[in-house]
Amino acid sequence: MRNSPEGQSTMRFNIYFRMQHILMFVGVIALVVTGIPLWCLRYPDSFALTSVIDIFRGLDSIRIWHHWAGWMLTFAFAYHLLYVFLHPEGRRDLLLMMPRKKDFQDLYHNILYCTGKRNTPPQFGRFSYFEKFDYWAAFWGCIIMIGTGLIMMYPHKVAESMPGGWGSTVFAVALESHFHEAILATLALLIWHMFNVHVKPEKFPGSLTWLNGKITAEERQKEHPLEDGEIKKYRAFKGL
């Protein structure tokens, strides 16, 4: 955690993390836009499908764009994996991002607080339970979407490495998983992530943390009051 020149804000996310986030959201938006007509292939007679395909000048063209966006997501995910395993702040954040018993207690506490059964909100560390959910949902989503996407891009290579007859089953399961996980990921991002960072009354219309990495002292005190203590504990654990 570094102090910003203004003294009022602190750095929450470093440039590497912000780059990963930007790469990821650009890739995901491109994947969703190009994925909708591919997803709609299950409803081939729909007007929406044919219109979107026409805009992209054909299905093959959409597939090429979708694959490029997929490679962008793969790059962002690989970059993130390297970051959380190699960079000291990445290693620290991965550890602090792990679900703990306190997260479930915080959820319960928050429900009681929201329903008026408790007077004070739960106090969070560097990452709240809903931020952790966001992160692990995206992590799971990347594994599923990239994994199944690669199977669908290289079905023959996958079939060659499978015992007889399993190639088509693996392909069919990959296609089905890709189709459904796409809906889950898109809706979760559109509904949950957008709500928490933009639409939520306290957050509207959103902060610039994703761009400059900074968080105000007031926000930090309100949303992550236990962060300093958590980081101190981590440093003690690591002998820093």
Partner: protein, 193 residues
């Protein structure tokens, strides 16, 4: 025919309308015996020379010499019967609007694809006098299991559908609680003022 000649050839009365479409069909053994013997009698009555000839009845791909005696006739795979030609006045060329793909990919690639799941004629007459039909996929000999009927795919879809419903329901509930909390606090703050 059966009605017109019934008085002269009473055996024809054994031929009845099994399918209920108003037209009698010759498909059961006693009906086949009745038509063969009546026709033979008619030909004899009309002095038709039957020397070296045999009255037979052709039903589907069988040639009957009596109700219980028949032999198989050769036919092409695509024919329902050797005598029910698929070649019509259109020379079997369908209009463009009936061509596969004219209504989109789902002409073939769908659960309701007529090309694979449509019923096609196997025999013009069955035991009940009605046409015998089978799925086109069976006629074409396609044995592969459609993707959505593969148990692995089916359970994958079930897993993801329920995961999506549960996760989204939880998220929406959480968001509603958040909004409720916000307006409750806002109202409380206003009341305090």
């Amino acid at each position: 025919m059966a009605n017109a000649y019934a008085s002269k050839y009473p055996e024809l009365s054994r031929i009845v309308d099994d399918s209920g479409d108003g037209m009698p069909e010759v498909n059961r053994p006693e009906e086949i015996d009745a038509i063969i013997s009546s026709v033979r009698q008619y030909l004899t009555d009309t002095k038709y020379d039957l020397t070296g000839k045999k009255v037979v009845w052709v039903l589907n791909d069988r040639l009957y010499t009596s109700g219980h005696k028949w032999e198989q006739l050769q036919k092409h795979e695509y024919e329902a019967s050797p005598y029910a030609s698929v070649y019509k006045y259109s020379h079997d060329v369908a209009p463009a609007k009936a061509a596969l793909g004219a209504k989109g990919c789902s002409d073939c690639h769908s659960k309701n694809s007529h090309f694979f799941f449509g019923q096609v004629l196997q025999y013009p007459f069955g035991e009940d006098g009605k046409p015998v039909t089978i799925k086109q996929a069976d006629l074409l000999g396609y044995k592969d299991v459609p993707r959505d009927r593969n148990p692995w795919t089916y359970w994958t879809a079930v897993f993801f559908k329920y995961l999506t419903i549960i996760v989204l329901a939880g998220l929406i509930l959480h968001m509603l609680l958040d909004v409720w909390k916000y307006y409750r606090h806002k109202k409380g703050w206003k009341d305090a003022q």
